[in-house]
């Protein structure tokens, strides 16, 4: 009847039962993903009922006004002032990059021993890896902003509190990501090292570390990228850097806020490009 002849022609008699031409049948199991999709859709609908939405409060003109305020010089200032101000931001920018860099390195190095203690395949004792995991989960529940607030209490306003916040934040995520990598490592070389009479430390150094190092470095670069972004916000609670500049000007000098945002945009973009380039080279 004009239907092309296919060797494995089959009839779909129902959603799940497939009959081959030779009479054999196979039953395709119900895909549970549809339950998940339905639940998510339902929740999304229910939550949307909770959001008051009034189209009269949306003022697109206001958005236009603030964008113009931010990206043009204010009052009697000239464009020259605007760009000169960008150069003046050099020092707070260095502060921002400084706290991201120092925090990433210190936090990552601190995470390494904790990640080892949390890895079930290396430390087989639950009374060690369970507390280790609890510590890292604890640090991960605290947002970087809150860490910075607490740090400001202890060491006062400035870059140091930013470094402490970034360090603890990095420590929390790096230890979690790293222990998961350690647990997926090929343990056969570890067994081989132990069979040569090496201690567990030595076996870890020679059999596990070489497998973990490239991933560790890749995560390090990625977390640095995240930290550059979040450290701009930290200035808001007193941790110094670009964030404090934005905070100081947000009420009166929109143009200066705009300049800071442009600068951060360029810096974050460069860090991202550099990060993805370096991480690709590590593969």
């Amino acid at each position: 009847m004009g239907v092309p002849c296919v060797t494995t022609k089959y009839l779909v008699s129902s959603m799940s039962k497939i009959t081959l031409t030779n009479g054999k049948t196979v039953t395709k199991p119900f895909n549970k993903i549809w339950i998940v999709v339905a639940v998510v859709a339902l929740l999304l609908y229910l939550f949307s009922l909770l959001i008051p939405f009034d189209s009269s409060t949306v003022k697109l003109e206001e958005l236009k006004v603030i964008l113009i305020k931010m990206f043009t010089p204010k009052g009697n200032r000239t464009w020259e002032d605007y760009f000169k101000y960008l150069l003046k931001l050099k020092n707070p920018l260095i502060d921002t990059l400084n706290m991201s860099f120092a925090g990433t390195i210190i936090g990552s190095l601190m995470a390494l021993p904790l990640a080892v203690l949390a890895a079930k395949n290396i430390v087989k004792k639950p009374y060690i890896y369970i507390p280790a995991r609890t510590i890292m989960n604890l640090f991960r529940t605290i947002p970087a902003m809150v860490l910075a607030l607490i740090a400001v209490f202890f060491v006062g306003i400035g870059v140091l509190s930013g470094i402490i916040a970034i360090t603890l934040f990095t420590f929390g995520i790096m230890s979690k990501m790293l222990y998961e990598v350690i647990e997926t490592v090929d343990m056969n070389p570890f067994e081989a090292l132990e069979s040569t009479g090496a201690t567990k430390t030595e076996a870890f150094r020679y059999a596990v570390l070489p497998q973990v190092t490239p991933v560790f470095v890749s995560y390090l670069i990625y977390i640095f990228e995240i930290n550059v972004r979040s450290s701009t916000i930290l200035g808001y609670v007193g941790a110094g850097g670009i964030g404090s500049v934005i905070k100081d000007n947000i009420l009166y000098n929109y143009d200066r806020v705009g300049a800071s945002i442009i600068l951060m945009f360029v810096v974050v973009l460069s860090v991202q490009l550099l990060s993805s380039f370096l991480r690709r080279r590590l593969q």
Partner: protein
Amino acid sequence: MIKFVDVSKTYPNGVKALHGVNLEIKDGEFVGIIGLSGAGKSTLLRSINKMISITSGKLYIDDVEISSIKGKELRMLRRGIGMIFQSFNLVKRMSVYNNVLTGRVAYHPTFKTVFGLFPKADKLMALESLDTMGILDKAFTRADQLSGGQQQRVALARALTQKPKLILADEPVASLDPITTVQVMDDFAKINRDFGITVIANMHHVDLALKYATRIIGIKEGEVVYDGDSKSIDDETLVQIYGRSLRHDEVLGE
């Protein structure tokens, strides 16, 4: 000399892997262990360097009873025993040379080896082992770039660098093709002959075991059912070890 006296091993899950094993293996022997999968071959082999601890009986290596030793003493025992694995167990991302050098780790204090500090003599030893195995030209290649046969030779070089008296091989050729298998088995024969190193190997292919080993130990359900010269073994004995006649995949068939 290795001596098993009434050795048994029961795993925590209740599986009896070895049952009343008595054996004596002299220095310089080439022993092939044959038997069905799950017969206890691997457990027997791994009990010798205590990668698996026996549950009863006594096991002597050069008159030292090893079932009670631990810590430093155990590591001293292990560094004199090379071990070869079915899946080579090399650190894939590391160079061949660095893999072989790990055979010397147990000879030095941790604070030195952790920083990768090895005496010049050890570095030379590693390169010489690679030369013995005929892969010196691959020394600075990453281990995962080599073929299976070459990787097993690197593993052998690592074992040789330990300067062992004994090499344990757990299915050393099971993941190699037939031609490479013969080459690697020749390497074992060479090591056994030229350096007088005792070789104990578990083997899946019976004909290979009969060809290379001078002595065959047949294991069935955790017990030694045959122990003797590889030349005097006949089909009837093999049926006794395997409980049936051999399948074609249990002989290499040359």
